[in-house]
Symmetry: C2
Subunit: 295 residues, 2 copies
């Protein structure tokens, strides 16, 4: 099943936006800029920013209004991969088939490149074409992303994952780990797209709920692909040496039950789109696409 | 020479604000919250947030309007200390006379606690008592802090510092390193205080210039105190083992010439306050206080 064409076209828009919002060559030390660029390009499917853009469209917003935030979210996702791969954390030498940042640039530079991407993301998110009410929405979007990426979201997931490693884990823990590590930022991408597109609070919530379901389905499928050894690089994958000690759905439930759990999460995501009718057809397709990958 | 009384009273205000804006116990994983708290408390003199508060007063603003940003800036300063101390960077076992975060909680948790403080800072900076025009000022203050903490400011300083280690360095490099590592965030603290206090652009710039001078004086004095072995913990200090390989003013110019350089930076800072007259008396005193410490 090929990637939907609209995703591919939005992905190209994301690439251009990321390049536009990187600090210019010569304005910052060359090494750290190289390390930031190395991890940002080529990226994967750019799932998070693509979802933010589509959420903006679903509520009838202008795509230009969401692009800086979409780029910021992808920078935050990328920083999390760099820090995740560090020797003290997942100790992965490879990322998307290439040397991980710390293998390429050394550990110190990888830490700083991650810090730089995280910090720069927030600067980029303050950019916005001026217009009535946009400042308030922009602040709300920064708060949503910081919350999702922070100690109540992504970092909570990392910490719980770290603490669960090599120990028995429950279904509840697993959902919390994945909800934090992957779910929170994906949810925020949808919310921010809806917010900056001028969506009403109920629309922001509904798209956030879709994001939560899709994020869970996505993570389960990624774990399945990782396990059956055909990861296509849509997202994170854990090094072979650590795989079996990690808390994953296939490790807990086995592959067939994990597939069913992913399908159920995708169904939930699609149901959350009901208020939008046909306008949300692409997002519904995407939820189906994610689950299909696991077969 | 004792710390000025107003600084001590503002410092207590900063402590309360930091506690108020930390994530509640039970809402986040306990270990990472403990690591965040461990590095935040007890802090040093809270120079950056105290300067932000005083800048707000100088332009006639309400202190309440600047408190969240002041807390955010201190969280960012604290994250930078945690990551600086990591084995891959300065490899310091001690920070303010206690075990560094990575010695206390392990390297993985120290990396995550730093990431968490940086991310949380931006969430906190979005908080603001509503009022006319405050959204725009808040966005500008977030942009200023992200820029100062990022790859054009603090991280640039870290990278240059890392690359200069153990090599001959020039006066110009030294100024760029310190300007990045310390100067940029101190300048931003003053600018943000002025911005959120409703200051006019010329006032924001003048206070920023003061910050740049004070930041430089502060860093030179810190290096002198570190060298003569009486660091009082106002800021960063580098482990004995690394000290001699680090790019510092006393290493390049010797102690007496470094004292003169610090005094000149403080004089420049005081001159930048001219437009404010008596309203800026405290800031002028502070610049003098910083230089006195080196004697």
């Amino acid at each position: 099943m090929p990637v939907p064409a609209w995703m591919e076209s939005d992905r190209r828009l994301v690439e251009r936006t990321l390049r536009r919002h990187l600090p210019r060559r010569g304005t910052v030390p060359a090494t750290v800029r190289r390390a930031m660029t190395y991890s940002l390009f080529p990226g994967g499917k750019r799932l998070r920013p693509v979802l933010a853009i589509e959420a903006c469209r679903v509520v009838g917003g202008r795509v230009a209004d969401v692009l800086p935030a979409a780029a910021g979210i992808e920078m935050i996702h990328t920083y999390s991969l760099i820090h995740d791969d560090l020797p003290a954390l997942d100790n992965d030498d490879l990322r998307r088939g290439r040397a991980a940042s710390h293998r390429m640039f050394g550990e110190a530079m990888a830490i700083l490149a991650g810090d730089a991407l995280l910090t720069h993301a927030f600067e980029v998110m303050t950019f916005h074409p001026p217009g009535p009410g946009t400042d308030r929405r922009r602040l709300a979007s920064i708060a949503a992303v910081a919350r999702a990426a922070g100690v109540r979201g992504m970092i909570a997931g990392q910490v719980l994952d770290l603490e669960a490693e090599g120990r028995p884990f429950s279904y509840r823990q697993l959902v919390r780990i994945h909800g934090g590590k992957t779910g929170a930022l994906i949810r925020a991408a949808l919310e921010v797209g809806a917010l900056l597109g001028g969506g009403r609070p109920a629309e922001v919530r509904a798209l956030g709920d879709y994001g939560e379901g899709v994020g869970l389905a996505f993570q389960i499928v990624d774990d399945i692909l990782d396990r059956v050894g055909s990861a296509e690089g849509l997202g994170k994958s854990v090094g072979k040496d650590r795989r079996d000690r990690k808390a994953t759905f296939p490790a807990l439930l086995g592959v067939p039950a994990s597939r069913r759990r992913a399908a159920r999460a995708a169904d939930g995501a699609i149901r959350a789109l009901a208020p939008f009718g046909r306008r949300a057809a692409r997002l519904a397709d995407l939820a189906r696409f994610i689950v299909e990958r696991a077969h």
